[in-house]
Symmetry: C2
Amino acid sequence: MFDVLFSHILKKVSLTEEEKSLLKSFFNAKNLRKKEFLLQEGEICHYLSFVSKGLLRSYHIDERGDEHMNLFAWEGWWSSDIYSFSFNEIAQFNIDALEDSELLLITRENLEEMTLQIPKMDRYFRILFQNSLATKERRLVSSNSYTAKEKYIQLADSNPQMIQRVPQNLIASYLGLAPETLSRIKKNIALGK
Amino acid sequence: MFDVLFSHILKKVSLTEEEKSLLKSFFNAKNLRKKEFLLQEGEICHYLSFVSKGLLRSYHIDERGDEHMNLFAWEGWWSSDIYSFSFNEIAQFNIDALEDSELLLITRENLEEMTLQIPKMDRYFRILFQNSLATKERRLVSSNSYTAKEKYIQLADSNPQMIQRVPQNLIASYLGLAPETLSRIKKNIALGK
DNA sequence: CGGATCGTTGATCAACTTCAACGGTCGTGG
DNA sequence: CCACGACCGTTGAAGTTGATCAACGATCCG
């Protein structure tokens, strides 16, 4: 259960055995069946969730009832409504499971306590958030700068695993496109533009 | 020069006087005149830059030559091509000054060294990046979910200072709109929709 | 004063959405 | 084990939003 987490952390900072077992005490394990919710819009998001197995999605539902994907998280990724988690405000995202999943959850209070007891974890999360921010910044510019086709090609190049593992209509939503549009784009690409 | 930086840091972590003077040694001051560049696309971004006075913009230029704003940074904000800075890759963003500015720069190497000597700075940047990530996540969903008019209203509500301080055509670009479109939207809003 | 920059307005256009229908596949319950 | 419904991707036709192109007036600044 903790193997995936530790190997992920150890890529960024080193941990002693004592720190490892201390660290474990701050987490709760949770299993989520396909289609079960981890978080629903309107709640407060109390956890950062590490996915040790499976696949989660986080998405927003607008007033018209349309879903807009925020991100997908599989083995080795974190998921949360980070805004809600950080500022203790109402969540804008739903999180549910696309596949049966095994998670490790940590609350805001435990994160606080853990980083005080193991300052290296501030460093781990600093690097994690720094990298996520870097990626998200590029994605945001891409979203505003490029055509639907360009965006899809960029994604397919930079994240082929996502395209293999996630249904096409959800990929479309992730890119801010109607599912029909993505279908047509793929057809055009297959026809050599 | 360092007053603004310290007051910003002290909102998130405490620092002793020794830590403060140690911290100073990792930064370089730099002045930037209006329209001068801090970073140009294609270079490596070597710095995180803290704005103690003035206003910076960071933006991407696409193959068609069109500019796409990434963010604006004024007193109390950081600016960088964080992807380039983090991964030592070629920058996608240009950064230049919209107003005469006073900056404090820190290199990747100095950031590394500073966080090792003052672990609390890992915590500071962890919180800083966590908050930025939270904001950027919401902005990205907003960008994919809402109409041009909704996006503008959200921005005007959440960040009125930006609208006061930044020219309208750059606001348009920040929202991923043509300047003419934003002009028409504002007209419609003024006419009571 | 003169040029550059910025916002505005009108007309046209293109990209993407919406709506509707259909065929294939998968998984579940009878 | 088969059948049915749900889900997913595809295709076509029509509609809409926002982009583009062009022209003009206002303001700022040197």
